[in-house]
């Protein structure tokens, strides 16, 4: 498969994604699935600024991502797909067996969330959403950078 990492990260495209994961995986493209960013050319430019020119950045709405996922999976280049919330990634897994693994890379503090790991804060409802994903057969682990050990879902929910 050519999408090497399906990542949940509320910072979306940032250093850990581009450098931390992007370098060792030698990524050729990054897909950012976010309805708000997809609708704003200005926001897209902002996220593109942090990515070297040799890496293509694709912006997609959730609906577009559902449609284009098979093509990204056939892409000979290595890719990373990033979404900022659990619902978006869950939608991508709903009708597909392609998404076998989800990397929880960074969900930070917000009112109502409690700390599960240094870089993972979840509400109880969000923890339940992740468990639902796992129940569908998706392997869910938390890991901010590739040099850290992946943390199994049951250890942070």
């Amino acid at each position: 498969m050519s999408i090497a990492l399906y990542r949940l990260d509320d910072r979306l495209i940032h250093g850990q994604v581009v450098v931390g994961w992007g370098k060792p995986l030698n990524v050729g493209f990054i897909v950012l699935v976010d309805d708000a960013v997809r609708a704003s050319a200005w926001e897209q430019e902002l996220y593109r600024m942090g990515v070297p020119p040799e890496i293509e950045v694709v912006f997609a709405s959730t609906e577009e991502a559902l449609e284009r996922l098979p093509a990204w999976e056939r892409d000979p280049r290595v890719g990373i797909l990033v979404a900022g919330d659990i619902a978006t990634l869950a939608a991508l897994t709903a009708n597909s067996h392609r998404v076998g693994r989800v990397n929880v890379g960074g969900l930070h503090h917000r009112p109502g969330r409690s700390e599960r790991l240094r870089y993972v804060y979840l509400t109880d409802a969000e923890a339940a959403q992740l468990k639902t994903l796992a129940a569908r057969g998706v392997e869910v682990t938390a890991q901010d950078v590739p040099t850290a050990a992946p943390v199994p879902l049951e250890d942070f929910t």
Binding site: I13, G15, V18, L46, G50, H108
Partner: protein, 126 residues
Amino acid sequence: MSEPLRGVIVSHAAVAQALVAAVAAITGVRDALVPVSNDGCDTGALSERLTQAIDDKPAVLFVDLPGGSCLTSSVRLARGRADVAVVTGVNLAMLLDFVFHRDIPPADAARRAVEAGSRAIRTPAA
């Protein structure tokens, strides 16, 4: 300018705090710079930290990298505002120059910082 510019350093981890400490150690100026780290922040929380650091005063935001959460939050906050400018690639040299030139408009201070910071990047003959 009625009030000197404030410099807000926006960084990953403790880079901002370290730069503020270094500027104070070298110049003795302690009231010009405010550090902001993105540690533990999503974009909303980082925006709140930035808003507090700026405190409705004219400011230049010195961001560590030309991409990522520090930059996106800073640019969003500065968008459409003439009293806030953004510079990326912060280094000590640009901050040392900035703290002594804070009575100019933010956009001019940002351009000046780029020049001062760029001049400091060299490969001296060994």
